[in-house]
Symmetry: C2
Subunit: 190 residues, 2 copies
Amino acid sequence: MTGPRVRAAAERLFARHGYAAVSMRMIAAEVGIGAGALYHYTPDKQTLLAGLMREHLDDLLAAWGKADPGTDPVARLDAFARFHIRFHIDRPDAVFIAYMELRSLEPETFAGIEALRRRYETVPEGILRDGVAAGVMAVADVKLASMALIAMLTGVNTWYRDGGRLDRDAVEGIYADMARGMVGVERVST
Amino acid sequence: MTGPRVRAAAERLFARHGYAAVSMRMIAAEVGIGAGALYHYTPDKQTLLAGLMREHLDDLLAAWGKADPGTDPVARLDAFARFHIRFHIDRPDAVFIAYMELRSLEPETFAGIEALRRRYETVPEGILRDGVAAGVMAVADVKLASMALIAMLTGVNTWYRDGGRLDRDAVEGIYADMARGMVGVERVST
DNA sequence: GTTGGAATTGAACGCGCGTTCGGTTTACCA
DNA sequence: TGGTAAACCGAACGCGCGTTCAATTCCAAC
């Protein structure tokens, strides 16, 4: 019972204040236990952080595995854009940590986490490569376009708030349209 | 002489390790002075951070003021994309800090910095609004498209390294193309 | 050469840090 | 009811933190 609450508290606090600015005592206070008791659930602070990141990236890759329609490139691009936004919007704290606290990891830990991130980046790369090969997309550089796509989609997290002007589905749709535009998918005549 | 070196050292260290993880003693050591001497150049650590951010955002707004061609929307979009990439690529540390350490600011300081950031966001908003009004761009939502554009362009900083596969000009060109695509500028027939 | 102000030192302040650990409570099973 | 293992407390450890300040050094102007 307490274990998950420790991880949840750490995730919220790390995201809000940054790893270095959060003390073990703060996390313990959030959970309602003494600082010493935390060490029943993590060997140290660094491992607590790394565990959050690895769990997030594992979830991300597994979730795309299930969401990938595996059909034609344009449909996969659409699915990827919507999936990425939905997944990230639901986990703003975990996303923020996975992006921002890479620098707080020791080198060996960093390498493992970075490898997972790289693996996810190959997803849009594969979609765009197939799309270009099939002649339904036009990008000057697959790698650049993939990075640009991910950056654009992840950017939603900086401004999206539940109950805002647009709901999830509307946001997903608008971004999916822009994604198609930026990789040169011919627009359907209306 | 020492003043600028203090700010430069602080900028590099804050970007590399994060504000909370950098001590005044680290900054002093980088400059080659004792920690106490720093207080001739800043009243405290917080002000040092805020000064770096404000300077960066002031520079950004002033530089766009000079770079804005002020002609038709499509040309301005192109100029904006290229300008944004160029400006940010040249100042990775300052950019990183201005994005990441907003949470390290006290509320009053935060408000001032945030206002500058908002002002910059109105730049692409204005361009897209004009473009849509002129019928040369098509976006479902000007605000969203602006945020998406900025996120995409700023994303270059996460992977660009001098001496890499593509030089600045090539990167600028590719991103400018994608920017046109994502806001629905009709492609020129080749 | 002297002087005066700026630059710098280095010790000191109280405090909170990550982590350890012996002792105490809790909860469940025999 | 008794026993046991996990959960937890709370004090303690050495250390580095941001900041202050009296004392010292430096250097340009007279």
